[in-house]
């Protein structure tokens, strides 16, 4: 008995030291959208009710184990069904309670919550199209003509434990989605390849990105800040490495960002086009540029040594595609290969990047074709049917 007391006291003391548990999380992240507020509310209510029910029934069972034991000389009763009106009441009461819990306490608010969740058609201030792709997210503001992709920015060395992991390990991207605070944003999801699922826990929304179909949801974020999430539908090899980062900023700042994105994208395109026309890249320039692109995208499957993974991802080193006709090689990158993990990069990479990476692949490892692909060539093939 003394030992037991000491043990209980020890456990209480240990639990009391907040520091022990400081790094553990116990509930949803702080909600910042109406849906997330509602979900947290339902969740807290549910946990309270479920724990109460669970503990009450457990207490009844423990009481019974203690009292109705053979070793205490308890004689077994022989009832096997309710026998009186009073007993029938006792039997039916829990089920009445359960019905009220299901269809009243949870069912009625859930009805309104579903309607709220699906209220995507009215009063949207802004539309964002989210396209899942193996393994990155593309964001598009169709009305504003802004489109870009967003990839994991955590260095591979951190994943392989060669470097210390940063604070936002696996939750950092090169180009975050930027949204204005307090505005209703209508999201449209779709996918280029397999099903992905867009989830930011603080927003309380999750919606699948289904290839060939459009799905919608909405969010009005009430607090500026940076919110992070991850893809939550298994989408192949790099499923764990396609995070979501949303920066929510005041409207003025958002407008500024959007304008810079528009000009930035436009300027880059218009500056690059004449430059490419007047001054073609040399093999060395294109190789250097292509190596960077390769290192951030292609390397995931085709590996640093260009050997791929036998049986899963084909080798590029010495392959027919990377040493054969140039146009075929460019077309594979532009259009992808149906039913494989090789997706189309026509939308997610610029013509310059595609030209550079194809040049790199044709002149890296054992490949020595000497071909230099120019952006104009890629643009031409893109236009060709």
């Amino acid at each position: 008995m003394q030992g037991l007391k000491k043990l209980v006291l020890g456990v209480i003391l240990a639990l009391g030291f907040g520091a022990v548990w400081a790094s553990y999380s116990w509930n949803f992240p702080t909600p910042v959208t109406p849906i997330a507020h509602e979900t947290l509310h339902v969740h807290n209510l549910f946990i309270a009710i479920a724990l109460t029910l669970f503990c009450t029934v457990l207490a009844l069972m423990l009481y019974s184990f203690w009292t109705h034991r053979k070793s205490r000389g308890h004689q077994a009763a022989d009832f096997s069904a309710p026998r009186s009106r009073k007993q029938w009441l006792w039997v039916l009461a829990p089920f009445a309670g359960l019905l009220i819990l299901d269809y009243g306490v949870f069912g009625i608010p859930a009805y309104h919550a579903v309607l709220m969740y699906e209220n995507t058609k009215t009063d949207a201030d802004l539309v964002v199209k989210v396209t899942g792709s193996q393994w990155l997210w593309q964001y598009e503001f169709p009305a504003e003509g802004v489109k870009y992709s967003s990839r994991l920015a955590t260095p591979r060395d951190q994943i392989d434990n060669l470097q210390t992991k940063g604070e936002n390990y696996l939750l950092e991207v090169d180009n975050p989605l930027v949204l204005p605070v307090g505005k209703k944003v209508r999201f449209i999801t779709t996918s280029n390849d397999v099903i992905h699922s867009w989830w930011v826990p603080a927003f309380g929304v999750k919606r699948d990105a289904v290839p060939g179909f459009l799905r919608e949801f909405w969010a009005t974020v009430d607090t500026p800040g940076t919110y992070r999430g991850q893809c939550s539908e298994l989408c192949g090899k790099e499923h764990g490495f396609m995070p979501i980062v949303v920066k929510v900023v005041p409207e003025a700042e958002f407008k500024q960002w959007l304008a810079s994105k528009k000009i930035g994208a436009g300027a880059a395109a218009s500056a690059a086009a004449p430059a490419a026309a007047t001054k073609p890249l040399t093999l060395e320039e294109a190789r250097a540029k292509g190596e960077k692109v390769y290192g951030s995208i292609c390397i995931t499957c085709h590996q640093a040594n260009g050997k791929g993974l036998p049986g899963t991802f084909p080798a590029l080193d010495g392959s027919k595609v990377a040493t054969g006709p140039v146009d075929e090689h460019i077309k594979v990158v532009l259009n992808g290969r149906p039913k494989t993990a090789m997706v189309s990069f026509a939308a997610s990479l610029s013509d310059e990047d595609i030209a550079a990476v194809v040049t790199y692949e044709r002149n890296a490892w054992g490949n020595k074709t000497g071909d230099v692909v120019q952006a104009a060539h890629v643009a031409e093939l893109k236009r060709a049917p």
């Binding site: 999380s25 949803f28 509602e38 339902v42 969740h43 549910f46 669970f54 029934v57 457990l58 069972m61 019974s64 109705h68 308890h74 077994a76 009763a77 022989d78 009832f79 096997s80 069904a81 039997v91 829990p94 089920f95 359960l98 269809y103 949870f106 069912g107 859930a110 009805y111 919550a113 579903v114 709220m116 699906e118 951190q158 994943i159 392989d160 434990n161 992991k165 390990y169 696996l170 939750l171 397999v194 699922s197 826990p201 999750k206 919606r207 699948d208 289904v210 290839p211 179909f213 799905r215 939550s232 539908e233 298994l234 090899k237 499923h239 764990g240 490495f241 049986g311 039913k339 993990a341």
Partner: protein, 534 residues
């Protein structure tokens, strides 16, 4: 009719075994006890393999970063774990129990279709081999490895996957044939082979649980077989069932899969709902409470289970009407389930209880499955569900629903009837240790998973952000404790087979039923003359 048949059998040599020696006995056998034992050995082997696979996963998830494996291997491990545990362990374990116990409980000489029974079992080992072969070939550097799409095999990922997927499809076909054959046998046996006087409503709950399971399996397995065949067609013959560009729909696969997948949960649960009342009644020395209510409860669960499937798909973008229907119909399942819980606890109430190992496992099942069921309630809320769906909260929820049933419930049954099978009483001290280790290991594995899921950790990721580290570490420690408990279980069973205190015909003081009227161990052919039920 069954009665007459029993009398037509030759009576010379009754209660004696006639079988060839060595391996041939097990290959040729049509005896329900032999086949039951083979099913159980197969199931426990699969439990160990499926467990080993997931321990490798938990070891990788012990801390952030990739330490032991690359994502390709990780995806194969989680997929095989799911498929092996559901189709390789849980279903064969239940069929094994049914095979061994149904004739004893119904007072029948054997299962109704003995040759079919033999065939049903012997399809399993090649099917399992087919499922795991690409995995080992992949490890040896041949081919892309095993199926890596998650056990849900969502299209178009399953259309894109390597040829391990084709092996998985054929394996699912074979496993499906096996379980349909087993189910036909269970249904025919229950409807035709009961002892004279044992009406359907005098039949023990064990048989009711298996009857509903078998009916469900015959309903759902052909649908899955059709679904995976469509995937096969999409993969190799350019059909477009699941490709939007060709007029198909990836979400169609989810409907087909979950039409099988949700009832499958009850396929795993209902046999245990049949087993547990026997154990509870025996050790509280009190008749089963609410026999008819439990039978209707099981029918209710089975009936509802086939009309609620899309609650697994609330994030796929369903219409408002679809969400409301699947939410409210799902909530309805809580009623028949609550009936069963109520009856189980009322069976214990005011009994004269002792806590032998089978009783401990049955109680553990009620408590843990209770929490699994309660957490299902909030997942049914279509608007709140997305926050739990495909996060670790969901993983923890369905393990609280499936582990207590398929593993602890089955172990309660095995421990309860083991004296009847081996003729030896259990080592109670070891049994209590086993129970304690399971409770600690299981809760330490899955309570952290609830919490890390709330914090936002998606399932099926090989590496995770730093904020999830603490819970994952605890969960991994728990998983290894839980894994070790299964080795102890095997030790206890082997020890029991080899010797122990001699068991009486009625091994437990409070045990009821026909199986306890024959000697322990039960003779090779039991009830050649069927007993009369008054």
């Amino acid at each position: 009719m069954a009665h007459d048949m029993a009398h037509d059998l030759p009576h010379d040599g009754a209660h004696e075994a006639h079988y060839p020696g060595g391996a041939l006995r097990w290959i040729q056998t049509t005896n329900h006890k032999d086949i039951g034992v083979m099913y159980l050995i197969f199931a426990i082997t699969m439990l160990l393999i499926g467990g080993a696979l997931i321990l490798a996963v938990r070891a990788e998830l012990y801390q952030p970063g990739l330490q032991l494996m690359q994502p390709e291997l990780f995806n194969q491990l989680i997929t095989l774990h799911g498929l092996i545990m559901v189709f390789g362990f849980a279903m064969p374990a239940a069929t094994g129990l049914a095979n061994y116990m149904l004739p004893l409980i119904l007072g029948a000489p054997d299962m109704a279709l003995p040759r079919l029974n033999n065939w049903g079992f012997w399809i399993l080992p090649p099917a399992a081999l087919m499922l795991v072969l690409p995995f080992f070939l992949g490890l040896a550097g041949i081919g892309p490895g095993a199926v890596d799409t998650g056990w849900t095999m969502y299209a178009p990922l399953s259309v894109q996957s390597g040829w391990g997927m084709d092996f998985a499809i054929f394996s699912v076909h074979m496993l499906g044939v096996s379980s349909i054959l087993g189910s036909i046998n269970v249904i025919v046996t229950i409807l035709n082979m009961r002892a004279p006087g044992m009406t359907l409503f005098k039949m023990p709950l064990f048989a009711h649980g298996f009857l509903m399971t078998a009916i469900l399996l015959i309903t759902i397995m052909p649908v899955l077989a059709g679904g995976v065949t469509m995937v096969l067609m999409d993969r190799h013959f350019d059909t477009h069932f699941f490709t939007a560009a060709g007029g198909g729909d990836p979400v169609l696969w989810q409907h087909i899969f979950w039409f099988m997948g949700h009832p499958e949960v009850y396929v795993l649960l209902l046999p245990i709902c049949g087993v547990v009342p026997h154990v509870l009644s025996a050790f509280s020395r009190k008749p089963v409470y609410g026999y008819r209510a439990q039978v209707y409860g099981m029918w209710g669960i089975a009936g509802l289970s086939v009309v609620v499937w899309a609650h697994h798909m609330f994030t796929s973008g369903m219409s408002v009407g679809g969400q409301l229907y699947f939410m409210y119909s799902t909530m309805l399942i809580s009623l028949p389930l609550a009936v069963l819980f109520f009856c189980w606890i009322a069976t214990l109430w005011r009994g004269s209880m002792t806590f032998e190992t089978p009783m401990l496992f049955a109680i553990g099942f009620i408590i843990l499955f209770g929490w699994g069921g309660l957490t299902g309630l909030v997942l049914a809320d279509a608007a709140a569900d997305p926050q739990y769906h495909n996060a670790y909260f969901l993983v923890a929820h369905f393990h609280y629903a499936l582990y207590p049933t398929t593993v602890m419930g089955a172990m309660a049954g095995v421990y309860y009837w083991l004296p009847k099978w081996t003729g030896h009483m259990l080592d109670e001290r070891l049994g209590r240790w086993h129970f304690g280790i399971v409770m600690v290991g299981f809760n330490l594995t899955f309570i952290p998973q609830f919490l890390v899921g709330l914090a936002g950790m998606p399932r099926r990721i090989p590496d995770y952000p730093l904020m999830f580290s603490e819970w994952n570490m605890l969960s991994t420690i728990g998983a290894f404790i839980l894994g070790a408990s299964h080795l102890l279980f095997i030790y206890i069973v082997v020890k029991n087979v080899r010797g122990g205190e001699k068991a009486q015909a009625k091994a437990w003081e409070g045990a009821q039923g026909l199986e306890w009227t024959v000697p322990s161990p039960a003779p090779y052919h039991t009830f050649e003359t069927q007993p009369e039920i008054k």
